[in-house]
Structures are given as structure tokens and as C-alpha cells.
């Protein structure tokens, strides 16, 4: 009995020793060099694996940064923001350029109150499907369908559907501007835009391309392409194409923001932390 015990231990130890030496030799001989910086960089990243940087996951992003140190400025992790990029820059021995923080905005204000429901959709509660069927419950072919594909796709819990308006709401604290909602919305209603100086920004909450009269029929707050906003701020930053105004983020919100908002007869221009000018 004792012999059996000793032989088993010896045989197993022998196999173990041989296998260990094979593994040792293999690990030395077939070693693939991997920059230790990749691990270090990955450590600093938020591990959201959201793809907002344009790479497949945080590991892919870390590899890309380490392998292309010369293009450091072209890389950005919008989720981690400036803090993370500073730490990554320190590892890489580079200087991080400060990037303006951004946020996703919904460019539609067609709530149940503003764009009343005319048709009832009873199919599967999904925007992409509903979009393929018809123009929407309010009749607006560009408006928000309110079925929450964006909510489903948000990795950060930064979106929810407001029960009263039936519109998705972006949580300013949680939104990392990863762009998942921009890609999933069948009507392309989200835009990633800078949060603005002192978190003040204005935007046109409408993307319809119908003529004014037709748009008004479906929604009280539709942009009717009246050009009034372009008169207040006469540069290319505010322009009307296809009967719909677009205000680019470089507009001077501090001085003209409230005037631009006030100029809109249908209240299609919304401001965040910008008061409407009292006339």
C-alpha cells in the first residue's frame, strides 16, 4: 500500500516537472513581445467597452494608442474624458490636449402635448420596426417615435423615456457622449454636441424637412424654416436648409443665445441654462 502511494506521488511529480520544463522553454522561445504600456493604459480606461472611441473595446483602444504614439492627439476616450486622457498621456509620455466635454442632445420636441397622437401603433415596441411601417403616431415623418431603442442601447443608463412627454431624456450627469444612441436612432435625432461654456448651449429641436405649413399640422413646435433666427445671428453658424434650421455649436451663446431663442415663433429652438429674452 505504501509503495503504491510513493509511486503515484513520484509519477505525478515527474510528469509535473517535465510539463513545467516544456512550458518554461515554450514560454521563453515563443514569447510574443507585448508592450507593458498596453496593460497600463487599459487599466486607466473606463472598461465600458462601448466603442465610442472607434475601436473594438478598451483593449483595442489601448493597443491602438501604444502602437501609434505619433498620432496621440487623434485618440480620444469620450467616456473617460479629459481626466482619463491626462493619465493615459502620462503613461505615454505625451501632453494631452484639453478637449471640450460633449453630450448627446435629442433634436426633437414632439412630445404628446406638442405633437398629439393621431394613430395608435400596436406592434412590437421598437423604433426601427415602427419607422419601417409608417411616419409615426403624430404623423411627423422625422419626429421621435418614443419607443426607446436609444434607452435599450445606452450602456450608462443615461436615457429614460419621460412618461408624460413620451420623449427620451438625456441625464446630464450620466451621459458620456459615447454615440450609441446616435447610431441606433432610425431617424438620426441625436447629435453629440459640446456642453458649451458654463454648460450653456442652444440647439434646434427639430429635424423635419417638410414645408412649414405641413410640419405645423403634425407638431406645434416644428421648425417651419421661417429664417427669423438667421436674422438675429447673421453668420453661417445659423442656417436654414430643407426648411429646417441648424444652429452649429460655435454660435456665441453668451451674447446671442437668448435672442436667438426668442426669435423663434414656434419655440423650436431650445436652450440649456439659457434664459429666453424678455421682450
Amino acid at each position: 500500500m505504501n509503495d503504491l502511494f510513493i509511486y503515484s506521488v513520484l509519477t505525478l511529480s515527474g510528469i509535473g516537472a517535465v510539463a513545467a520544463s516544456i512550458l518554461f522553454v515554450a514560454s521563453k522561445k515563443f514569447k510574443v513581445f507585448e508592450d507593458p504600456k498596453i496593460d497600463e493604459v487599459e487599466e486607466e480606461l473606463p472598461s465600458a467597452n462601448c466603442g465610442a472611441c472607434g475601436f473594438p473595446g478598451c483593449r483595442g483602444f489601448a493597443e491602438a494608442i501604444v502602437n501609434n504614439p505619433d498620432d496621440f492627439d487623434s485618440f480620444n476616450c469620450p467616456v473617460g474624458g479629459n481626466d482619463v486622457m491626462k493619465k493615459v498621456a502620462a503613461i505615454m509620455g505625451k501632453e494631452a490636449t484639453e478637449k471640450e466635454p460633449t453630450i448627446a442632445v435629442l433634436k426633437c420636441n414632439g412630445s404628446r402635448q406638442n405633437a398629439p397622437q393621431k394613430i395608435i401603433y400596436s406592434g412590437e415596441q421598437n423604433c426601427a420596426l415602427s419607422h419601417s411601417m409608417f411616419s409615426g403616431e403624430s404623423g411627423c415623418p422625422s419626429g421621435c417615435l418614443g419607443l426607446g431603442d436609444c434607452v435599450d442601447v445606452c450602456n450608462f443608463g443615461a436615457l429614460y423615456i419621460d412618461e408624460e412627454t413620451w420623449l427620451p431624456v438625456v441625464d446630464e450627469e450620466k451621459c458620456t457622449s459615447c454615440g450609441a444612441c446616435v447610431n441606433v436612432c432610425p431617424r438620426g435625432l441625436f447629435e453629440i454636441m459640446p456642453r458649451g461654456k458654463d454648460n450653456k448651449r442652444i440647439y434646434v429641436a427639430c429635424m423635419n424637412t417638410q414645408k412649414g405649413a405641413a410640419a405645423k399640422k403634425n407638431c406645434k413646435v416644428a421648425c417651419i424654416g421661417c429664417m427669423k433666427c438667421t436674422k438675429v445671428y447673421e453668420t453661417d453658424s445659423v442656417k436654414v436648409t430643407n426648411f429646417c434650421s441648424y444652429i452649429s455649436p460655435d454660435v456665441d451663446v453668451e451674447n446671442y443665445g437668448s435672442a436667438i431663442i426668442a426669435s423663434c415663433p414656434t419655440k423650436a429652438i431650445l436652450g440649456v441654462n439659457v434664459e429666453e429674452q424678455k421682450v
Binding site: 406592434g123 420596426l129 411616419s135
Partner: protein, 444 residues
């Protein structure tokens, strides 16, 4: 003759053919028609008239925008209005040509008489050109341009013409009435199609729930050489192209293949009647038969309707919208599309207008899928809808594509059968949309 059917799957919904004994009535010409320029599969037609032009019945108003496209002719005589967009069957704004009706003056070249013309004088090439010129598309609902089916691709040879008189969708009776009232014309039309394709065999498949049509056509067909009437078992979707081919010839059209690869060309009876009118009477496709029906509709009827007539005119003629109507569907109840407005004009693809009460259309609450497999049993293509549903809900598009979701013809048998009330067809449609996006992305 012995009844035939397809072997895989199929369901038996209540047929509710309420308007089967109502003769086709001609609907009055409305005061204005709106004719969409995209009524067919393929490129939209290009308008060739402008505001203020005077047109007659049968005047070309938009010409085909490519090989897979179709001409569009004025269905009324009058003055062309300004170009505009109105909500169409798609649920979105569609470009239409609106025409204010003045009188009812026809192009001189069209023979208006109803007299039967049996003798086929045109050559096969001339027939194909005529079908193309007349803007004929598949009137069963898919609206595929018919002249494409007459152009046989290289390496293929036609052996048989199949005429689809199945009308397996519940409620619809337009084809049934047409077979009863225009039997001779349909048989001449079949002969025309046979001549154009150079074949000597034609089979008209009719479901057994239309015994009068089978009897009528069988009797008439004795005078036409090479045409057979084939009774088919009542089994949805008997009228699907692949199912019809399987039932009649026993051949199985594989995924991605066309019937012509098997030597077959399939036409709907409505289409074949239009072919008859185009070839023998020189009449373009300007009207069609539309069934207006529903359990609460006071006068379920079959109307001969000019293309572009607002559907509300048809509904009014049939007794108006019943009080508790919750849904109006264009086409059949299984595969039709819910409409968003009654102002939508009748198009070449409008086979029926169904008015459903809330009770008829209410979706039952969904419960958990227990993988009982009933959906697979009834699937006429042997697919696995329960798997599609699970994969769509998990957003696993690659696996979904591997499971052949793109072959699904969306007949609705699975949704009809599911004991857990899963919206299977909805989910399959969603899966197809996402896979199409994926394929686009791969191309880039």
C-alpha cells in the same frame, strides 16, 4: 381532378369570404385622383406630364424609371394639378400626380367594348412590349413588374405557365369574382402568356373553397388547348409563389432561385386579365378589382376601381366606416398593411380594404415562449420562428442571419398559431431590417 397541396406547414384560418357572391360593381369616377409614381417594386416612374396638361384615360403620365419599373397611365380624363406629396400606403409622404376629372374621354387607341377577342395576332416580342408599355405589375399584391417575367434570362427555358387563382388570404374575393365574371378573358390571357413564353402548357390553380370558379373555368377550358384547371386544398399560404409551384408541379424552388430557373412563370389571375386587356384591347393598367369588406361593413362588395381613387370613396360606397372600427388594412388580413388615413389612393397593389373592429384586431397579451415548436410546424418554409424571436430580442444579428431569417416570406402563419402570442412576424421584420443594415455596413 385530384386536389393537390404543398407538403410543409400551412394553417387554416376562417376564410370569412363575405363578399364572394357580390358581383363586381363599377365605382363612380371621383372628382380628383391622386396617382402615386411608385406603385411597384423597383425604381419609381418618372413623370412626363406637368401642371395644366390635359390628359385622357390611358395617357402615359409617368414612364418606367429602369428595367425593373413600370409605366403609369392616367386613369381618368382631365387636367393635371400641381406636383404634391400625400401620405400613401407606406405610411409616409409619396409623390403623386393629381388629376382633376373632366368627363370620361378615352384615348382613341383603346378598344372600349367588352366583346371577347380570342384570336391572338401579336408575336411573342410584341406581347412583351405591350405588357411593358401597359405598365402591368403583379396584381396579387407584390406589384412586381410583369414584363420582367416575360424576359427569360439566358440559360433558362420556360416549360409551363402557372396562373394563381388561389386567393388564400381570408376575406378577399376580388380574384374569385374576376374568375367567375371574366373566365373567358382569363383563359385567353393565359394563352397569350403561353404564346409569349413559347410554352404549350398552362395550369390555373384554384383553392377548393371556390367550387363555382373551378367548375366554371374547367368547362370553359375545354375549348382552349393546353390549359388545365387544378383544384388545390384550402391551406394558407397556398397562394404563395413557392407553395403554388410545389403544389402543382412538385418542384421546390430553393432560396434565392427564381421560378424561371425551374422553367416556370407564375402570374396572378388579375394580372393575366390585365395582360388580356393590354394585348387584345390595347388598354393600359388603369383600374383593378378591390374588395371592401369586414364583419361590420354594411355592404361588403367588390369594386372595379380607377387607380388613384381615394379609398374613402370605396369605403363610403360600401356603407361607410362602421362605428367601432379600430383598424383599416390594405390587402389581406394575414399580410396586408394597416393604413394611416382613408385619403390614401387605391394603387395597382390594393387588392382589398378591410375594416376591422377592435375585437378583431386586438393583440392578446404576450406570455413566455416555451419552445413548443408550433410555429416551426406551420412554417411553410421549414424555418424556426421561435429561434428568430429569441435571437432578435438578444440582438444577435449574425446568428439570426445564419438561421436564414431572410428567406421568410412573412406569411404570418407563425404569429397566427403561437399559443404564447409572440409577435413573431414583427420580430422577424425587425431582424430583416437590422440584417440589411449589417449587409450595407459590410459592403463599406
Amino acid at each position: 381532378m385530384k386536389t393537390k397541396t404543398f407538403t410543409m406547414g400551412g394553417i387554416h384560418p376562417a376564410d370569412n369570404k363575405l363578399s364572394a357572391d357580390k358581383p363586381i360593381e363599377e365605382l363612380e369616377i371621383p372628382i380628383e385622383v391622386q396617382i402615386p409614381i411608385a406603385q411597384h417594386i423597383g425604381a419609381p416612374a418618372k413623370p412626363v406630364v406637368k401642371k395644366g396638361d390635359k390628359v385622357k384615360v390611358g395617357t402615359l403620365i409617368a414612364e418606367a424609371g429602369g428595367f425593373i419599373s413600370a409605366n403609369i397611365h392616367s386613369s381618368v380624363s382631365g387636367t393635371v394639378g400641381i406636383a404634391k406629396e400625400i401620405v400613401g400606403t407606406s405610411g409616409y409622404l409619396e409623390k403623386v400626380i393629381s388629376i382633376k376629372v373632366e368627363g370620361d374621354e378615352w384615348e382613341e387607341s383603346i378598344i372600349k367594348s367588352d366583346e371577347l377577342k380570342k384570336e391572338i395576332t401579336l408575336s411573342p416580342d410584341e406581347i412583351q412590349a405591350k405588357v411593358k408599355e401597359a405598365g402591368i405589375v403583379g396584381l396579387g399584391g407584390a406589384t412586381f413588374p410583369s414584363h420582367v417575367k416575360f424576359a427569360i434570362p439566358e440559360g433558362c427555358k420556360a416549360e409551363m405557365v402557372l396562373i394563381n387563382g388561389v386567393e388564400c388570404e381570408p376575406y378577399l374575393t376580388a380574384d374569385h369574382r374576376l374568375m367567375l365574371e371574366k373566365g373567358e378573358e382569363i383563359l385567353v390571357g393565359t394563352s397569350i402568356a403561353m404564346k409569349a413564353l413559347g410554352v404549350d402548357k398552362g395550369v390555373i390553380g384554384i383553392e377548393e373553397n371556390k367550387p363555382d370558379a373551378i367548375k366554371h373555368l374547367t368547362k370553359l377550358a375545354e375549348n382552349y388547348s393546353g390549359i388545365l384547371i387544378q383544384p388545390l386544398k384550402v391551406q394558407y399560404p397556398q397562394g404563395g409563389e413557392k407553395q403554388l409551384i410545389k403544389s402543382i408541379t412538385g418542384k421546390e424552388v430553393t432560396a434565392g432561385a427564381l421560378p424561371i430557373h425551374y422553367g416556370l412563370a407564375v402570374f396572378n389571375v388579375g394580372t393575366i386579365f390585365a395582360v388580356y386587356e393590354a394585348v387584345q384591347k390595347n388598354k393600359p393598367l388603369i383600374d383593378r378589382i378591390v374588395t371592401v369588406t369586414g364583419k361590420n361593413v354594411s355592404k361588403p362588395s367588390n369594386y372595379k376601381v380607377r387607380i388613384g381613387t381615394p379609398l374613402k370613396e370605396l369605403i363610403e360606397k360600401a356603407g361607410g366606416v362602421p362605428e367601432n372600427t379600430a383598424k383599416i388594412v390594405s390587402g389581406g388580413p394575414m399580410m396586408g398593411k394597416a393604413l394611416t388615413s382613408t385619403e390614401i389612393p387605391a394603387t395597382k397593389g390594393t387588392s382589398g380594404v378591410l375594416l376591422f373592429s377592435e375585437k378583431d384586431t386586438k393583440r392578446a397579451d404576450e406570455t413566455a415562449c416555451i419552445r413548443c415548436g408550433k410555429c416551426s410546424t406551420v412554417c411553410c418554409l421549414g424555418l424556426q420562428p421561435f429561434l428568430f424571436a429569441a435571437l432578435v430580442r438578444k440582438r444577435n444579428w449574425e446568428k439570426l442571419e445564419e438561421a436564414h431569417v431572410m428567406d421568410c416570406l412573412e406569411c404570418g402563419s407563425c404569429s397566427y398559431t403561437c399559443p404564447a402570442n409572440l409577435p413573431l412576424v414583427d420580430l422577424i421584420k425587425l431582424g430583416k431590417i437590422e440584417i440589411k443594415k449589417l449587409r450595407e455596413a459590410r459592403k463599406k
